[in-house]
Symmetry: C2
Subunit: 345 residues, 2 copies
């Protein structure tokens, strides 16, 4: 960086995650000397504010990355596949929030609390994991360190905002107009659309031949990669629920060593700096998305020891999918690299 | 019964399940010579129609069961504990939809498709299981018969109507008035209330010291009892979602013998008369509550073989919690007993 800070670009600046990236970057102590907001031609010309200045969104082109030190991408996989290598070739460090590079063995997939150690001065392209995966691995980390983990089984309760601003709009339309015809959920790129209001939809992203959805496969593969354990058995069932912000996970973990009781796990999570424990059954305390939306932390509650299996525990994890699940995690990656002098020359 | 049919009583006739019992009984070929609708003093005087006749709800008293052959109870556990033995002592067969007698070793807990064989001419009191349990065991039955079952792990997505008509009213209020203060959910009898609109609540019924809720313990114990297997390992995480009618279950089952692929399970369910298979990933077919509410059947989809474990499968089960989960199952118990001449003298 020059002495004033980094020249930053945000690709997909007009989207749900892009706007959250601008807001998050604004409040993080990362020095920014210039900001370039990029999007498709359709969104070019829109105006955003950042640290008391006004910025106009520009159309993304191959020249957009000239002079850029740090670029955040959140405009879909195909945009990242095309433009992230260009940004890197122009000397930028890229933090990509799409699935384009996540499973590339040469690209680090990072949740700073879990595996920041894979970042180095040579890292030019970093993948930001899937939203549900991020909050899952943050909760798994203390368990892995203390007991080791044999298997993980998750059922998700995923918020509508994960499918973008248009899906949120669709939800509001469905609530106010019973004749509205869905055209976004479950997956824009798929062929059939279903109502999410007063419903739950057990499909996120398209289907694979195995019967799993791509979202489920992402959670499985990315969890293995971030926890650096190809023997870890993971299963996911991904379900969209009528919640605006905040994914919830019903999680079952088989540990490698036995647990005495639920208090032992509660104590472990209490000592972790990376999660917020919300588990007091005496006053009905547990995390819920509508009460925790727009917050940065990963919240854990409903901790139980299995009634039959010595090494199995169950718990519930909630985090804001747009913040910790996307924009915040990307900015935290940048902040970690900044603090550890891994950004710039 | 006399030659025209049974003298039937419905206790809790003004409630969500009671009204559904009247409607279900109306369309089932069970001969009814007289109908007595019973409820608390507060609901007495309300009017209902049954098979083109008008009935007035009467206040429940100890004399209410004089001359009654068959009584359905759905007015809360304490009402059943007090009045079901009175009804039995007056000669009625009682089908009880509360949790009052479910775990009594002397009382059969029945889902007709699964364990009707426990009913006999001597049976006077039958417990109707918890709503989520019913649809779970209907789906487990073909698997148990074909492979044997070692363990079951369920995360639920339970509809608001399971908490009664007042909870449905509360949901509508929350949707239309953001300042509305919740006073029913998660559990009327508990102390703190949370919003269900745009939210998911991981608490149904009150907490036990183990960290499990009573609803979760019910699912665990009742599944063991109905499947007649005390070694069956069951876990449940019960969650309320903003859906009016229809519970969904994300289900993981460890079988006792291996499965080749998902098609083997699809084929097994296809051959079952007791579930409706909705599993065609080529056209995004899977069961969803808003599209299946007010239907009688148990629907299964999203069938997958675990990617790591030979004997583990995952699937998704949806059924109307007021119908198959409560009123319909009770009427089906009565119908089975009628057909097999187990009712009356």
């Amino acid at each position: 960086m020059d002495r004033q800070g980094y020249a930053v670009a945000i690709v997909g600046a007009s989207g749900e995650v892009g706007r959250s990236m601008i807001e998050t970057l604004e409040r993080y102590p990362i020095p920014v000397s210039s900001l370039r907001l990029l999007a498709s031609k359709r969104s070019a010309g829109k105006v955003c504010s950042f640290r008391n200045e006004t910025y106009v969104i520009e159309e993304l082109t191959e020249q957009s990355f000239d002079g850029i030190d740090l670029a955040f991408f959140s405009a879909g996989g195909s945009v990242s596949l095309k433009y992230a290598p260009i940004a890197v070739s122009k000397g930028a460090v890229v933090i990509d929030n799409t699935s384009a590079f996540r499973m590339d063995p040469n690209i680090p997939l990072v949740v700073p609390e879990v595996n920041a150690h894979v970042l180095s001065k040579e890292t030019r392209l970093i993948a930001n994991p899937n939203c549900s995966t991020i909050q899952l691995v943050v909760a798994l980390k203390p368990l892995k360190d203390c007991y080791g983990i044999e298997s993980v089984n998750v059922s998700t309760y995923q918020a509508i905002s994960g499918a973008g601003a248009k899906a949120l709009f669709e939800y509001d339309e469905e609530l106010s107009d019973p004749t509205y015809q869905p055209q976004i959920l479950p997956t824009r790129s798929d062929e059939v659309y279903y109502q999410i209001a007063h419903n739950v939809i057990p499909q996120i992203d398209v289907f694979m031949e195995s019967g799993y959805t791509k979202e489920e496969i992402k959670m499985i593969n990315e969890t293995q990669k971030i926890l650096d354990d190809n023997d870890l058995k993971v299963n996911a069932t991904c379900v969209r629920v009528p919640v605006r912000y905040g994914h919830s996970l019903s999680t079952t973990v088989k540990l490698k060593s036995p647990v005495k009781d639920r208090l032992e796990i509660i104590d472990l999570f209490k000592r972790s700096n990376d999660i917020v424990l919300k588990d007091d059954i005496s006053c009905q305390e547990y995390p819920m998305p509508v009460y925790l939306q727009h917050q940065d932390e990963v919240f854990v509650g409903r901790i139980r020891k299995d009634l039959f299996e010595e090494r199995v525990i169950h718990f519930w994890v909630v985090a804001d999918n747009i913040l910790k699940g996307a924009a915040l995690n990307s900015v935290q990656i940048a902040y970690y690299m900044h603090q550890n002098r891994l950004l710039g020359d």
